[in-house]
């Protein structure tokens, strides 16, 4: 789960709160900076996702779950570097456009974490599935050798049973179809637990991110 409309502060708060000056919420983030200077024969893992990957609201990008996974990789002395390609507020459609920018740099493992914002906005399940498939297709075309990982997502109970189950099923379906490693539910043990989430109730705290990382690590370590 994640912040649905990160765009709102930009567009609208500026409108109503003259004083706010468009203060965007703090977020650590997005980018591929860790990729710089990997001259060693290290392999690269690209985490492509939204604010959960970016570590929205955390003090440091290393506290976000890809950072925690990197720490696990380092302590296991595996030759992998993680590139954090998270962007707060990203939807599957946004990811579909953005992926080209990140495909410029090669990687060996591609971890896909998108769809949460679609779910929170109640976007049609079919269109989310289509966008995710398009992203996977682009990756496969450019780097056919790359291993693929799918991070599953669910929407809050209050969205309604039908939508929730349709949404939840996107991920295993696509994973099977594209022969991807699946993490059934990224936020297992964190989603809905008050003290593991920030005040907004959807973004994990530092503590929560550790559990999220453990969920990912459980599946990821098998393909390293």
């Amino acid at each position: 789960m994640k912040h649905p409309l990160k765009i709102i502060p930009v567009l609208a708060l500026t409108v109503f709160l003259a004083a706010c000056g468009g203060d965007k919420k703090p977020a650590e983030s997005d980018s591929t900076s860790t990729a710089a200077g990997n001259a060693q024969p290290k392999k690269t893992i690209l985490f492509f996702g939204d604010s959960l990957t970016a570590g929205y609201g955390l003090d440091d990008a290393t506290e976000a779950f890809p950072g925690v996974v990197q720490a696990k990789i380092d302590s296991a002395k595996l030759p992998y570097t993680i590139v954090n390609g998270g962007l707060s507020g990203e939807t599957s459609a946004g990811g579909r456009s953005r992926i080209d920018w990140l495909l410029k740099q090669p990687f060996d493992i591609f971890v896909l974490e998108l769809g949460a914002n679609d779910g929170l906005r109640g976007l049609p399940v079919a269109s989310t599935a289509e966008n995710l498939q398009a992203i996977i297709d682009k990756v496969k075309t450019k780097y056919p050798q790359a291993k693929l990982v799918m991070l599953g997502m669910q929407v809050p109970t209050n969205m309604g049973a039908t939508y929730s189950s349709d949404f939840k099923n996107i991920f295993p379906t696509l994973a099977t179809k594209n022969n991807m490693t699946l993490v059934p539910f990224l936020l297992q043990g964190v989603g809905g637990v008050r003290k593991l989430n920030q005040a907004d109730g959807i973004h994990p705290t530092e503590e929560g991110a550790k559990i999220v990382a453990a969920n990912v690590w459980a599946e990821l370590k098998g393909i390293l």
């Binding site: 109503f16 468009g22 970016a54 962007l87």
Partner: protein
């Protein structure tokens, strides 16, 4: 007279009798004076009554912004401690749970994300859930019914009586929701609203582990309850529980400056009403007493003591003041009742007309106080009128010795004005400044009049024609009215003109935030490939593309070579370390928008390849990271470092509904970066909105739409109302100001009678007298109106800068028109005053006015 007992006791009965007897002498003249008081007080009472009524109206409407006196909200189940606190708060209470959910229209088989609100209690306490049919707004709580947002109904072609499925429960649509109080928060704009009764919330089975629910509690308190105090008391506990509170006052502050501007404007109007009252009453009293000098001298000859003469007239003035004020209060109240009725077809707002006793008592009280205060000055001189004055027939003012009482009266007048301003403004500094301002205006006008008297005397040449000489000579000769008329015309002009200018400024501010073609729908997450087809679709639907901007997310990496770590370590850099933690939403374009203004540097719209990128920084952002024009920045655009420098610093009007940015890039660098687009449009009605949303969702399912229509109508209505109220109040005050001005010029009627009659007796033609009078008033009118206008421009500038805190841009043409109008008005009234003399035989006039 040796047997007169100078130590006799004051016989009040006799004094009263004398006061009445004296007034009997010339009732027509007395009536004229009273009419001036009546107009002054009527202006004051009418303006006050409107003010009180309008203030109540606006406050009532403002309460619909939140729908209750107090709201307490949070996004998690209240704990035990909080629950106890919530229960302990008195007054009426309503409870609401709101959350996002997908609903299903069973008949048309559509699914849509909505904002479900489960409601218990009588909320909204202010305003109502406006529905079709009307009674559904309250009736839906009686069964398994729902209220559904109008646009949503149209979008899914649903009808009242259809069913919707919310989670596991099915509800019958009882009504279409047209407007709901308390929906001004943006959160409510994200998804359309559906109300359901609280008691069926559990049936939906949507509440459970992993649900995201917002909890809201609404309270209504009895009138006069101190809400601020309560909020102060409970806020720490709420903070601790991660809950927040909101009050009407709070919401008003956040809604923008309009409310503050309105109340400042109304207190200004009240203040000016008082001063208009003062001008009306004081100019009448002053001339009245001066005319009484002869009678007083006669009375003194007959053995009346100075103190007795003083008391006789004090009693008389108090009586006149009382009669005038009561009549004024009646007139003012009837104007207040009649005007909205007469204008009801022209006014787009309804102004409630309840009798404001507060205004009436204030009017009467102030009327008497002003009469007595301003009568005291000339009355004090009475004590110095010697019986010899009768014999000398001198019209020169009795030489005023340094009378300590005079200063006491001045002090009283100043104290009165200061005290009253304090009542209006609530702070002594402001009151002091206002009083000093008025004194300065008064002194300027007096000085101008004095200079006029001095200079015309020197200026007049014997070579001028007789009429010209007479006209000018009237300005300085004994029994001249230069000072009194200059001051009263000048002050009234200054007040009228100040009100007009301030009104102009305020209206331009209000219309900025609520005018017609403002965007009320935001579409976002538009992908680059969808940009053009969406714009096309929008136009095809007949809607304007108010703006379409690309947005790129990036982070700040370095400021003048310093990184986040440097900023954290060295606070002397004055770079906020948080500036590095933010994700910046940035756009690129080749020009400024109309809500931006460069304060330093130069906006560069195109980047030169291979060079540092010239970016424009918003003022406050620039302050936060402590940069000036020319400073270097490094941005991390999703993995790619871009070297930039600040080429300009912008001031942004954040008040408008449009996309505003802290950083703007030039065209030519970010075109290929990952980005999405935002489109703003204006939908004129809910059916259009529904059709448009349907078309967009069908073609571009990923695009999210925020329809601010419902949110903005509540706000727009309010701002519109405020705008009209400001126009109405200033219009009304200006008209009353003109009436007061007319009546204060009118009281100079008797000043010139004797001379005109003598002139006529000596054979002057009507035309000559007419010209002489016209010249005198023309001169007085021009001079005092222009002085008044100069004072008004100065005072409105000061008010705009220090009291309203807004830029001073005014259109001076209407002011020029006002100048001519007031001058013309003065001349016309002056001529009307002498009409009686011109049309009747001199003897008749002399006899009746001797």
């Amino acid at each position: 007279m040796d047997n007169v007992n100078y130590n006799r006791k004051i016989n009040f009965g006799w004094l009263f009798k004398m006061a009445v007897r004296d007034s009997r002498r010339n009732r027509a003249r007395l009536l004229l004076f009273i009419s001036s008081i009546v107009f002054g007080i009527a202006a004051l009472v009418a303006i006050y009554s409107f003010k009180y009524n309008i203030q109540n109206d606006i406050n009532g409407q403002a309460a619909t912004l939140i729908g209750a006196d107090l709201s307490i909200t949070g996004n998690k189940e209240p704990g035990k401690k909080l629950q106890t606190l919530l229960d302990s708060i008195g007054g009426e209470r309503s409870e609401e749970r709101s959350f996002a959910s997908m609903i299903y229209f069973t008949r048309t088989q559509g699914t849509r994300l909505v904002n479900i609100k489960a409601l218990k209690g009588a909320f909204p306490y202010y305003g109502s859930l406006e529905t079709t049919p009307l009674k559904a707004g309250t009736g839906f709580k009686s069964g398994k019914y729902a209220l559904v947002d109008k646009t949503l109904m149209l979008q899914f072609t649903a009808k009242v009586g259809d069913s919707i499925k919310v989670g596991n429960a099915t509800f019958v649509i009882a009504g279409i929701l047209n407007k709901a109080p308390g929906q001004t928060g943006l959160s409510s704009g994200i998804a359309p609203i559906v109300y359901i009764p609280f008691q069926y919330l559990a049936d939906t089975k949507l509440i459970g582990t992993g649900s995201r629910i917002n909890f809201a509690y609404y309270y209504k308190f009895p009138q006069g309850y101190n809400i601020e105090k309560l909020v102060k008391k409970i806020d720490p506990a709420l903070d601790k529980a991660e809950y927040g509170s909101d009050t009407v006052e709070n919401r008003k502050e956040n809604t923008g400056r309009s409310f503050g501007d309105l109340s400042r404007f109304l207190s200004l109007v009240a203040f000016i009403a008082l001063l208009l009252g003062c001008v009306g009453v004081a100019s009448a009293i002053n001339i009245y007493i001066r005319e009484k000098i002869a009678s007083i001298a006669i009375m003194r000859c007959m053995g009346v003591k100075a103190s007795e003469a003083f008391l006789i007239y004090l009693i008389q003035i108090t009586g006149i003041g009382l009669i005038g004020s009561v009549a004024g209060a009646i007139l003012g109240t009837s104007v207040q009742h009649l005007l909205p009725y007469v204008l009801k077809d022209f006014l787009p707002i309804t102004i409630s007309v309840s009798i404001s006793w507060m205004a009436i008592w204030q009017g009467i009280g102030l009327g008497i106080i002003i009469s007595v205060l301003f009568a005291l000055l000339p009355l004090i001189n009475i004590r110095n009128i010697s019986p010899l004055n009768t014999l000398r027939m001198s019209f020169e003012e009795t030489t005023t010795k340094r009378d300590p009482f005079r200063w006491l009266v001045y002090l009283l007048v100043v104290g009165f004005i200061t005290g009253f301003s304090y009542l209006q403004l609530g702070d002594w500094l402001g009151a002091g400044v206002f009083t000093v301002g008025i004194l300065v205006a008064f002194l300027i006008l007096t000085a101008i009049a004095w200079l006029l008297i001095r200079f015309t005397r020197l200026l007049i040449m014997s070579s001028w024609s007789y009429i010209l000489r007479q006209g000018f000579a009237n300005l300085y000769r004994p029994n001249n009215q230069t000072i009194i008329l200059t001051v009263s015309i000048g002050l009234s002009t200054a007040f009228i003109c100040t009100l007009f200018l301030i009104q102009q400024l305020l209206i331009s501010q209000v219309s900025l935030s609520s005018s017609g073609n403002q965007s009320n729908m935001i579409l976002f997450d538009i992908q680059t490939s969808q940009e053009k087809p969406l714009a096309e679709l929008t136009r095809k639907q007949g809607l304007p593309v108010l703006s379409q901007v690309p947005i790129i997310t990036m982070r700040l990496d370095k400021v003048n070579g310093k990184t986040a770590a440097d900023a954290k370590k060295d606070s002397t850099l004055h770079i906020s370390p948080r500036a590095f933690a933010w994700e910046y939403r940035v756009t690129y374009r080749d020009s400024l928008t109309n809500s931006e203004q460069i304060t330093s540097g130069k906006f560069i719209g195109k980047a030169a390849p291979g060079r540092d990128i010239p970016v424009s920084a918003e003022e406050r952002f620039a302050n936060r990271i402590n940069v000036k024009v020319g400073d270097k920045l490094v941005f991390n655009v999703q993995g790619i470092m871009m070297n930039a420098y600040v080429s300009s610093i912008r001031k942004v009007n954040w008040n408008k509904i449009q996309t505003n940015f802290q950083v703007v890039f030039p065209a030519g660098v970010l075109e290929d970066a990952p980005q999405f687009h935002v489109l703003l449009t204006h939908v004129p009605s809910q059916p259009v909105s529904a059709a448009y949303q349907q078309a967009v969702v069908k073609q571009f399912p990923n695009i999210s739409i925020i329809d601010l229509g419902l949110v903005l109508t509540v706000l727009d209505e309010l701002l519109d109302k405020i705008g009209y109220v400001i126009k109405f109040m200033s219009g009304f005050s200006i008209v009353t100001g003109i009436i007061v001005l007319i009546s204060s010029v009118r009281i100079s009627k008797y000043q010139r009678i004797k001379e005109s009659v003598l002139l006529r007796t000596m054979g002057a033609s009507r035309r000559q007298i007419f010209s002489i009078t016209a010249l005198e008033y023309l001169f007085l009118g021009t001079l005092s109106a222009s002085t008044g206008i100069v004072i008004a421009i100065g005072s409105s500038w000061l008010l705009a800068k220090y009291r309203f805190d807004m830029p001073y841009h005014v259109n001076l043409w209407p002011v020029a028109a006002m100048f001519f109008a007031i001058t013309a008005l003065t001349v016309i009234i002056g001529l009307l005053n002498s009409r009686g003399i011109l049309n009747k035989p001199p003897l008749e006039v002399l006899r009746s006015n001797a």
